[in-house]
Amino acid sequence: MAKTQISLTLNGKQIEALVEPRTLLIHFLRDELKITGPHIGCDTTHCGACTVDLDGKSVKSCTVFAVQADGAEVLTIEGMAQADGTLHPLQQAFREHHGLQCGFCTPGMITRAYRLLKENSNPTEDEIRMGISGNLCRCTGYQNIVKAIQAAAAEMAGGQVKEAAE
């Protein structure tokens, strides 16, 4: 089958590639671009381990074709930290609040939480739980994930207040 030319922005970098239309975004990221942060967990649109941010939406990249991301802006866990290695407040909070054990769900969980906090900077516990209901974690029981997201939200809000005061 003929390949299709696509171009997209991945973690701020311009990418040009030829892909088979049937190539799923998760396979394109992992196998072609070696962006292995997004994981393949269930491969059936349930677990959320493959979650990436696509044009401002959290999507399960196992259920999107790479050709559908043509022209899009894609953010993965690899794009969360700053260039100097400073962790994103969500990454830092997951670390400090023990928001992970095996870590398999973590890239998807943090990428999803990133978009959740963009849309709702001060979510209630219930809103966090509903907001991450498309991401499964088999280790933590979610308690510390929720705490980590709450802590990151507070940290990010504090940062904004500080910026405004300066």
């Binding site: 003929a2 059936t44 649109t45 999107v64 050709v67 498309g134």
Partner: protein, 286 residues
């Protein structure tokens, strides 16, 4: 899992899309959000040789008022349904139902058009559209036509859509002041309904004016519970009336036995969902 190979088409207009679908024949499938079709393709339960992606067609997007009606483009996502101020004020039932579909990631991508056109009895929006008395505006190479949601569903994956036709928009009539509810029993987030009921009713002078009821996933297609709605209309929604309406709704169900429960259980749960939905719709109608 890797789907079978296909050729990818991304038309810019509805006319271009339906012309492609007509020319490519039955082996071409329209792609909306893809969250029903892509999983089927990964399992090789579907292997279309051509996909016509509707995602680049501006005319299929947007939610607008048209006179008293509300018109929702087929490629509007469930996420956009939930976020819409127009729908919140005119047809809040849609957001209530959308919130109960799948999970946030799926709702960012899954479309209302795909949900109603798919023909899976587990889809939630068809019963909602029946309760709302919505009309589907179809587009095909030969032109457009309209089909009422209540007449659209024939069986599992069997709808009024002809080969090459797509649902382009959904038109919801002006309901005026009304009460509404979508009650869905499911085992967990992301699951299809064990049973669900959609209710739209008006309340006037201590009595129900009109009442329309749709049922999800308790037959090989969504059900319009016409008789149950007739029983409720004109009543004060007293216990005896609710009991009669529930019995009438249960009588038209024919659920499959699956991991969600036995047919008897699912029929009874349809009744429970209906009685809850009636009570909640009434509480919002006054």
């Amino acid at each position: 899992m890797i789907p079978g190979a296909f050729a990818y088409h991304r038309p810019k207009s509805v006319n271009e899309a339906v012309a492609l679908l007509a020319d490519l024949g039955e082996d071409a499938r329209p792609l909306g959000g893809g969250h029903s079709l892509i999983p089927l393709m990964k399992l090789r339960l579907a292997a279309p040789s051509n996909l016509v992606d509707l995602g680049g067609i501006a005319d299929l997007k947007g939610i607008r008022a048209d006179g008293g009606d509300v018109v929702v483009g087929a490629c509007v996502t469930q996420h956009e349904i939930i976020a819409s101020d127009l729908l919140a004020s005119k047809v809040p039932l849609l957001a209530e139902a959308a919130r109960q579909i799948a999970d946030p990631q799926v709702r960012y991508v899954g479309t209302i058009g795909g949900n109603v056109a798919n023909g899976d009895p587990g889809n939630d929006m068809p019963a909602v559209m029946m309760a709302l008395n919505a009309t589907y505006e179809l587009a095909g190479k030969g032109g457009g036509r309209k089909v009422a949601a209540r007449d659209f569903y024939h069986g599992t994956y069997d709808t009024a859509l002809q080969p090459g036709e797509i649902v382009a928009a959904i038109r919801i009539p002006d309901l005026g002041k009304h009460g509404y509810a979508y009650e869905k029993l499911k085992r967990k987030i992301g699951d299809y309904a064990t049973a669900a009921a959609a209710v739209v009713l008006t309340w006037d002078g201590g009595k129900v004016g009109q009442c329309a009821i749709g049922l999800t996933n308790v037959a090989d297609k969504p059900l319009f519970a016409e008789e149950a709605g007739r029983i409720v209309a004109g009543s004060a929604l007293d216990d005896a009336t609710v009991k009669k309406a529930v019995a009438a709704a249960e009588a038209i169900t024919a659920p499959a036995s699956d991991r969600r429960g036995s047919p008897n259980y699912r029929t009874k749960m349809a009744g429970v969902m209906l009685s809850r939905a009636l009570a909640r719709a009434k509480s919002r109608a006054g």
